[in-house]
């Protein structure tokens, strides 16, 4: 089962490699990983999507929590939450018809065209992983994807719950 684990950690050199190390050392899966400093620049927030049974997820959260640089760990999928991922995708639009079709589909998905030239569009889209997957499939059907780049999932718990030091 897919899980989204959020980690609050010191924004210190080597902290990221320690977390990634736990996953490789102990044979856990990393499906995506997203990390950046928070509003407090001394802290970083890392979101990792992984999969495994309850026992594995419990071990992942415990082993990550054990790292000295880590302040807090939560499994966002334990409760209601918001998750978003951003994707940039460059598609070849060689004909008038393709250009129109790509634009129409982008509108339907509430994606934005952020760069244009004679032969291609670059489109920005945010949403859940499923939505981005669906958009990719659609783009592949109506045009040719030249390249794409995804940020990996980031997320927050809904309501009052928050991950703070």
């Amino acid at each position: 089962m897919k899980r989204i684990i959020s980690v609050l950690m010191e924004n210190a050199p080597g902290a990221l490699s320690r977390i990634v190390g736990v996953f490789s050392q102990r044979g856990y899966n990393v499906d995506s990983l997203c990390v950046a400093p928070t509003d407090d620049p001394s802290l970083s927030r890392l979101t990792i999507t992984t999969h495994g049974d309850d026992k594995v997820i419990e071990q992942i959260t415990k082993q990550v929590n054990k790292l000295i640089d880590v302040l807090k760990v939560v499994d966002l999928t334990d409760g209601t939450h918001i998750e978003r991922e951003l994707m940039l995708v460059k598609v070849a639009t060689r004909t008038e018809g393709m250009r129109a079709e790509v634009k129409r589909n982008a509108d339907i998905f509430r994606a934005r065209i952020v760069d244009v030239n004679a032969t291609n569009y670059t489109i920005e889209i945010t949403g859940t992983t499923d939505k981005l997957d669906a958009f990719s499939t659609t783009m592949n059907q109506c045009a040719e994807i030249i390249e794409s780049s995804r940020t990996g999932v980031c997320g927050l718990a809904r309501g009052e719950r928050a991950l703070r030091p």
Binding site: E10, Q25, K62, Q63, N65, K66, L67, I68
Partner: protein
């Protein structure tokens, strides 16, 4: 504020931490630190012959005292040579700080001479590590390193020091933090009261309880409370390989070690128990055998300071996160209120059952008049040291014989590489023990394979006049490998035989020590006596033992805890 060089700061910070001994080896990147060490007498530096041994010495020192061991090595090969020693300490949760030199900051990443990414190399086997970036940060990094190493679940911490930071020419203000606090690191000492209450209830209810005591009981200095609880409950006690000594091996409630080479009664009691109180033990695969068949009738109470150890391999019914000693104090407080008067009566059936298992006398072995049995050597060692020696061990058959045939009375008396199983650990560990306890008898039980993995330290022993006693069970083979080849590989002894043994007596003498070879059983007692009469000399006892002996009992793979071979021909 005092002004001093980075190198002087390193030494000053060690003094402020209270370090008395540093085990190390100089080299280019740490020459400034060595220069600062030269100018003072507070911190004694011990010059080893190989950096791996420095780590094992610091480790033995830490195990024998509970204090953090300290290692100082240069960059590159100096640092990488400590890796096995760091991994050994990590697996057994031993507090250690490794100060490693690093190439100057501006050359990091250039593949400079003697450069290795020590923080990267050691990452999976340290509790934490620091790459210090500014000289003024040295005292704080060192203070934090010692704090982290010896609080919570102890472990090794690396402090990597680039050469430009410790330059003796430049001075910086020195400030040693009076108190270390870290927002991201606050180990839980006290057990949750609700969990403690549940544990007490389960212990009171139990008709067939067992205390399963691991290395965490030693790390948290919980021995006195383990004994108190065991006696109040009148419960049987078993110790892991790492926990031996936490409960006296001579106590009538002691069942012996459990696990792969545990006693029949310990493993039987575990398998049939209705309540298991695990104290600082981690349900290692060398204990549980097949986890699917592990202790099917027991409520498992697991006390451990590391939440990640709880329910890692075996599910705990009552997890209690906290220091073993503190949680035992909480349990004992609550027990005082309960009715314990009829414990003896309540557990009488259980003890009758245990007495019946004990009648098998599983540690009996077939004696011989023609060859020396290795078990016999350990029994003789026990006799000649009154059971009071610090016994360090290498890894292999001799390690198991020492664990089974030398009942340890006190915690920290038994020093061995339990988790990583590092051959070559024993001699340097026994040296570390001797530095910590100058007047005590420090023995290493080893074999002809293990001793050759760090034999160069015989030279260090001479330099520092360490009267370590080496008891080498020489069977001309890698005994444990050979045993498995006998049992599993139809006796095909692939590369487990050494055809070119050195003359260990001459070797010991070449290093300036005393060597004694024992070939015949009738000479064993006299030789032991002679060995321990040399109170100020290192003695190397090269004892020729039976090559074909196996360690029994031994769990049968994929079985339950109590599925065991009891000898070459018998099984449960």
């Amino acid at each position: 504020m005092k002004m001093m060089s980075g190198a002087a700061m390193v030494v000053e910070a060690l003094k402020d931490v209270g370090v008395k001994h540093v085990f190390g080896y100089p080299g280019g990147a740490v020459l400034d630190i060595y220069d600062a060490l030269f100018a003072q007498d507070d911190v004694e530096h011990v010059l080893v012959r190989h950096e791996q041994a420095a780590a094992h010495m610091a480790d033995g020192y830490a195990r024998a005292t509970g204090k953090t061991g300290t290692v100082l090595v240069t960059s590159g090969p100096g640092a990488t040579n400590t890796i096995t020693g760091i991994a050994t300490a990590y697996m057994d949760s031993i507090p250690m700080v490794i100060l490693s030199g690093q190439v100057p900051s501006m050359h990091i990443g250039e593949d400079a001479f003697q450069e290795t990414d020590m923080v990267g190399c050691s990452r999976p086997i340290v509790k934490h590590s620091f790459l210090v970036k500014r000289a003024v940060d040295i005292p704080e990094a060192i203070a934090k390193a010692y704090y982290i190493a010896n609080t919570g679940r102890p472990g090794p911490v690396v402090v990597d020091l680039p050469k430009d930071l410790v330059n003796v020419q430049e001075e910086h203000p020195y400030h040693f933090p009076a108190d270390v606090t870290m927002r991201s690191y606050n180990p839980t000492e006290k057990g949750h009261p609700r969990q403690v209450k549940k544990a007490v209830k389960s212990l009171i209810k139990a008709k067939r309880p067992v205390l399963y005591v691991g290395g965490g009981a030693i790390a948290s200095e919980a021995s006195a409370r383990v004994i108190q609880l065991a006696e109040q409950l009148h419960a049987p006690v078993t110790c892991t390989l790492m926990g031996l000594g936490a409960f006296p091996g001579t106590h009538e409630q002691f069942l012996g070690m459990l696990g792969m080479h545990g006693t029949l009664e310990a493993n039987k009691a575990m398998h049939n128990a209705d309540c298991i109180l695990a104290l600082g033990a981690r349900f290692d695969d060398r204990v549980t055998n097949n986890v699917a068949k592990f202790c099917p009738h027991a409520d498992i109470i697991h006390v451990d300071i590391d939440p990640a150890s709880i329910s890692k391999t075996v599910n705990a019914h009552i997890p209690v996160v906290g220091s073993v000693d503190t949680v035992l104090e909480q349990i004992l407080e609550q027990l005082a209120d309960k009715e314990l008067a009829d414990q003896q009566h309540k557990l009488s059936e259980w003890w009758e059952q245990i007495a019946q298992w004990r009648t098998r006398q599983c540690l009996n072995y077939e004696d011989s008049a023609s060859v020396i049995k290795p078990q016999k050597v350990i029994q003789a060692l026990y006799k000649h040291t009154n059971g009071d020696a610090y016994v360090s061990s290498d890894v292999g058959q001799h390690q198991m014989f020492a664990a089974l045939y030398y009942p340890f009375k006190n915690p920290r008396q038994w020093i061995n590489s339990g988790g990583l199983g590092t051959m070559g650990f024993g001699l340097p560990a026994a040296m570390g023990v001797q530095f910590a306890h100058r007047d005590a008898v420090s023995v290493v039980v080893t074999g002809d394979g293990s001793i050759q993995m760090n034999i160069q330290e015989l030279s260090t022993c001479l330099q520092y006049n360490l009267p370590v006693k080496i008891i080498s069970l020489n069977n001309r083979a890698l005994g444990m490998v050979r045993q498995w080849q006998d049992m599993i590989y139809k006796g095909r002894h692939s590369h487990s035989y050494m055809d070119s043994m050195p003359d260990f007596v001459k070797l010991a003498e070449a290093y300036g020590h005393v060597g004694i070879r024992v070939d015949k059983l009738e000479d064993l007692d006299a030789a032991m006596e002679k060995c321990f009469s040399y109170t100020d000399r290192l003695v190397f006892m090269d004892i020729q033992v039976d090559q074909n002996e196996h360690v029994y009992p031994m769990q049968i793979k994929f079985g339950a805890m109590d599925d065991m071979r009891l000898s070459k021909t018998e099984r449960t």
